[in-house]
Amino acid sequence: MIHDSEDATDPPAGLDPTDLRRLAEWRSQDILFCIARAPGDPRLLVGSSDFGVDALDPTADKPQRQRFAGTGHHSYVTGLAIAGGQLISGSYDRQLIWWDLETGQQRRVQTAHDRWIRRLIASPDGKRLYSVADDMTCRVWDAASGESLATLRGHATETPHGYPSMLYAVAVSPDGRWLAAGDRVGHVAVWDTETFQQVATLEAPTMYTWDPRARRHSIGGIRSLAFSPAGTELAVGGIGKIGNIDHLQGPARVEIFRWREGERLQELEDETRKGLVEQMVWMPDGKRLLTVGGDHKGFLTFYDVGSGELLHQEGTGGHLHGVAIARDWQTLAVAGHQSIAEWTLQPPEEEA
């Protein structure tokens, strides 16, 4: 997720993925499923497996996580969005919670879905929220009032094999016009955010592995979506086919679509660092893509979208669930299994 930063400069030309290096890491016992950063605020905001929402200020002398106050969530916190100066969190407990960023106080609690909320994002103008959940709906919210504006349906509630499906991923185009959601079996629906009409569907069935013989259940799913800066291409992230579905031992997989035409432009698979592609961010030039995710361990991987070349990759000790990137691309904050870390693309000499 790229965060608006009122005081940020445009990203510098010549961003080089090979400059990626870690600045700091903060270890913990919990699992961080999502991360966000508010404009003009150095704090990293994370959602945790301990049901809490925390802030960590990397600029402090001894950075420590501070818990947002209130009754909070009752299950894993899996989505964070910044909109209208507020922090909104979504959780497996089916609730959205609005928090005051200044005071850390809980402002509003709203039951939003009938099943787990998997992801929450804000529209580029911060006026709307989009949430996806395992009730297989994508819901549209007024970010300020919490009013429900639409419930978008475009995903089957059951897999082809009769089991409950899951709706993991949601993305909105940079101009705010198009909204996409991706599910467990590799189906993507795209809606017009003005009319709420479904305008396209895409299929990425390789993301879903059903084992009909040995283990008789499934694994995988589309875990991340990202529109290109121009909004014409859609990156679909997940995992490729898995032989032994006991583990996440499948290739990290990305498919690039020219979504209006339904044309698949690229199929990228990484067998070196395997697992789920949990989040993707296009670099400002619209030619390169950052992916984060993992299996037991994690990765940050840059691809050249045009050629499909893997440009640069860094491994991490634990699975990464989310990334928050400042608009100036000076810092990338990642959250994952028992860790928050801050990375930079700034060349060492410039930093000095």
């Binding site: 016992q29 919990d30 699992i31 497996s49 301990d50 049901f51 009752h74 299950s75 894993y76 497996y92 407990d93 787990w116 395992d134 009769g162 089991y163 409950p164 899951m166 013989r213 040995a214 283990r215 008789r216 259940h217 499934s218 694994i219 799913g221 579905i245 006991d246 583990h247 996440l248 031992q249 697992g275 993992g294 299996d295 037991h296 361990k297 634990g318 699975h319 299994h337």
Partner: protein
Amino acid sequence: MHRQRTDLGSPPATVSRRQLLGAAAVGSTVAAADMNRLSLFSQSGLAGEIARGDKSVILLWLAGGASQLETWDPKPGRSTGGPFAKIQTSVPGIEISELLPKMSQRLNETAIIRSLNTKIADHGGGYALMDTGRRSEPGVEFPHLGAIIAHELAQRESQVPDHIEMYTSTEGRRKGAAGFLGARYNPMFLTDSMMPDNIQRLEAISDADHADRASLQQFLSQRFSRDVPHPAVDSHNAAYGRVRGLMASDYLFDVDREPQSMRDHYGPTQFGQQCLVARRLVEAGVPFVKVARAWWDSHGQNFETHRELCADLDHVMAALLDDLKQRGLLDKTLVVTMGEFGRTPKINGSLGRDHFASAWSCTLSGCGIRGGSVYGKTDEDGQTVIEGETGAGDLFATIFAALGIDHTKEYMLGSRPIPIADFDSFPIREILA
């Protein structure tokens, strides 16, 4: 402790209980029986044996190891608890995972054991332990649960198979064995289809021809027996009758004979249809049916896996209990859920749980069980058993006790007594009716 003995003679497992009971029924041949057989009759109580004959077990084998935290022993709010909530059941004070909403409303028929500590956390070793009730021992082939139940509960005159296992997935597929009880109690093992292979009558032989052949075989064998009484003839007759019975049992495996509404009741999954077959089998008098539902070995994506598999388990188990109850079979049928072990409280980097045998759960429903009960307790993180530690032998003793089988009974393997429940195992009286 007094233990009741069933002598198996020497070599082991060469004399079957059915043959012994057959010898008793013939009367005049009792005199020809050896002392081992006589000791069986004097100590076990033939009337009691026959009285138990209408009881059955359906074992729902959760192959690969289901998570106790996502099923019967949830710990929401703890770092080990995972994302699922717990829900109130139909029994005040008992809560289970929200992944089992249908079973939560049927807990009156079910006892939960939350304190299994079976220590062996590899698939092969865990399977051997949980399917025999004791640790493996070099040189001794212990019978598996199904074989013991078949040995103890099968009716002599039954025309249906008495030990059936269904395991259609390939991962972790292991066939139960009768061990020293003898091949007679090995399972009919169904892997590729729900219909047994090679039991259909050859098309070239009409049913009338087949019946005629059986009559001729019976006539000849009876005439032979009059002239030359010998247990081998009884055995041959029993085997022939058993084959006839198996061939005539093919309809039991055909779910198309059930109304569509009943098939819908069990749902579309293979596990559901297999459990419907299991009900048909126990209704016809089969004493032991194992239905394996693989594969729960969720080292990665434990919560997604359990969301899928628990939906299947919840629906099918609830459907099975309802169906058995409605038919008046639940009082005579013990439904057991277990696997080779549970799963680690610790959640790994792939959001998975690994093998864990130190504090896990199983359930017993129906026959002989005090429904709505929970036995044992784990600590707040589910890491250790803090009350009512239960081993595999205790679970077996409880299963036997629920079925009215004396858990202190012993088989004699040569001169060595082998209790049907492992030494120092005791039934959990708190969950018995």
